[in-house]
Amino acid sequence: MAATTAAAPTAVKARRRDPRRPVWQEQPKATTQAAKSGTIVVILLVIAFPLYSIVLTSLSDQTSVNIAGGMVVWPHGLTFSAYKLIAAGGVVGRALMISLLVTAVGTALSMLVTILASYGLSRTGSFGHRTILWFMMLTMFFSGGVIPLFLVVSALGGFDQYWALIAPSAVSVFNIIVMRAFFMNIGSDMIESARIDGAGEWRILWRIVLPTSRAVTAVIALFYAVTYWNSWFNILLFMPSDSVKWPLQMVLYTYITQGNPMPGAGTTTIGGFVGNQQIAPLSIQMAVVTLTVVPVLIVYPFVQKHFTKGVLLGAIKG
């Protein structure tokens, strides 16, 4: 009792100690704390600020773009006209639909192939699984490179075809390895007893393996989706000039990164009017950038919940 009262005054004088801080750790100095907080704020700003400015510019009217002299930092007049213009049709709207479609079809195909292969290779002691695994893994270390691939796809008639944006990158051996590792961890008693009950491999995969590994399946599907959504070089390689067929990343590259003028027919003009309101070309460009990132932002929270596991497993098994 006496001891606590004696200690109290000094405790009051010192800054309050966070109960979560480990006992052995000394209380950092106020300056250290401030420097740390400052660093964290700077790091967050470096990532968030460009995104904020891009979204804000896409929502700004011509006058606020003029006042800012370019990218907008302080909101003045907000408007959705850039998005209305895009929704009215033309290059960007079409590219958005194409990107969504390629991503959806590609992800479905990749998942089908990946799940089948992962399950097919997940039984230790099954005939030839080691050989098949090696056959697949070799492609991770050595590839023929861009030129032979281009010629192979062209020879198969893939030039300017949508399947050329999907098939060559449909299998990620890395994802197969990750998924296979998860499948191998599923209790083999459960699988063995199902087999004794007469269940075939397809049934075991569909009824036991897939329902018990929803998390991995979801994460890998999202990884594939992000890859398809973000892929750009294969469009440049297989679909360089047919601008009507371009997905969004290629539109972003051609008209924003490279600054080529967008085809000027009708509503697709860069800059323009919705009703009698003028829209700044910069706002439309930033709307394209925003549209490219929004699907990633929507999907992100779902992946984020799981990907620590995925990355770790990759690091261990990779």
Binding site: T124, G125, V296, L312
Partner: protein, 327 residues
């Protein structure tokens, strides 16, 4: 992993002695028949890899030909090592080679420590909630495409970007355009990669930090070790295996480094600054239609990369680390 009571009554599950025991007893024909469904399941992936992975590898024989689009691989005339002789005498190739090494080294030196520092910083934050928020924000750019990242950098640092507007507004008459400056390009490349990947690479380090036993820190603190001593001898040495692993992975892919990133910015900064080995192969092979020459550069690249990976792994073993794969 405990099995339910009900199942434990049963005799030892056949799974327990599946693998080896089964393998030795059954003939291969029997096993083939037993596992035919499993093999069938790997077929779609196998076929895709065969067509888009292995056929292009065979296609690399064109590096020893004078490939003609209409004659194809089968009818094009053989050229022996002529393409390689031309390649090794080409100043453009050697420029691409040294430029790749320069871009890669600058990037490695500048970006490698960032995720480690970030992980240590994040690990020292006491509030779980705040840590979660910061982690979500810093990992986000990993999921952006390279085109996207370059666009964002362009809007910030480019000729009409925010920095430019800001500097002009504060009396700088003609601010430098960092996006098109060839001398600045190597730092730009490093900056873009730091912005995009630091948060993602941090996750692995965070997990490694979580695996370090707190009792080590406690004992060190009791012995009077300072913050820096604890960081150096406990934190950093705990992270060492992961650092070595990532360094090896990085070195293995040094020569094929940054293809998309260079290609996107090739027009803006020019071939002098952005030409790398992969770009050299692409520019000669696809853009100029000199397929055999491009493929020769590609083959050189592929072979040296494999050697590099194997070498880096060997070095890791020598240092007593487990490396990329085990022997």
């Amino acid at each position: 992993m405990a099995t339910p009571e009900v199942l434990q009554e049963a005799p030892p599950a056949p799974a327990a002695r599946s693998g080896a025991a089964r393998k030795s007893k059954l003939s291969w024909a029997h096993r083939l028949r037993r596992d035919r469904t499993l093999i069938l399941m790997t077929l779609p992936a196998g076929v895709l890899l065969l067509v888009f992975g292995y056929t292009p590898m065979l296609g690399l024989v064109m590096a020893f030909q004078d490939y003609d689009l209409y004659d194809g691989i089968t009818h094009s005339p053989w050229a022996g090592l002529a393409n390689f002789q031309q390649l090794f005498a080409d100043p453009g190739f050697w420029h691409a080679f040294t430029n790749t090494l320069v871009l890669f080294s600058v990037q490695l030196v500048l970006s490698f420590p960032v995720p480690i520092a970030l992980a240590i910083l994040l690990d020292s934050i006491l509030s779980r909630r705040l840590r979660g928020i910061i982690q979500s924000v810093v990992t986000l750019p990993h999921f952006f495409s390279m085109v996207m990242v370059v666009s964002i950098f362009d809007q910030m640092l480019g000729g009409t970007g925010l920095l430019d507007t800001f500097l002009r507004g504060h009396g700088v008459a003609s601010p430098p355009n960092l996006m098109t400056d060839p001398a600045f390009f190597k730092f730009l490349v490093a900056g873009q990669l730091i912005w995009k990947e630091s948060g993602w690479n941090m996750i692995v380090y965070l997990a490694a930090l979580a695996a370090i036993s707190p009792s080590l820190y406690e004992a060190a603190a009791v012995d009077g070790a300072s913050w820096w001593q604890r960081t150096r001898h406990i934190t950093l040495s705990g992270l060492r295996p992961i650092m070595v692993l990532l360094l090896i992975l990085n070195l293995g892919f040094a020569l094929t480094f940054g293809f998309e990133q260079m290609l996107i910015q090739y027009a803006a900064v020019g071939p002098g600054a952005a030409s790398t080995l992969t770009i050299f192969s692409y520019e000669n092979g696809i853009v100029q239609g000199n397929y055999s020459y491009g493929a020769a550069a590609g083959l050189f690249l592929g072979v040296t990369s494999v050697i590099l990976i194997l070498l880096a792994n060997k070095v890791a073993h020598l240092f007593g680390e487990s490396g990329l794969y085990r022997k």
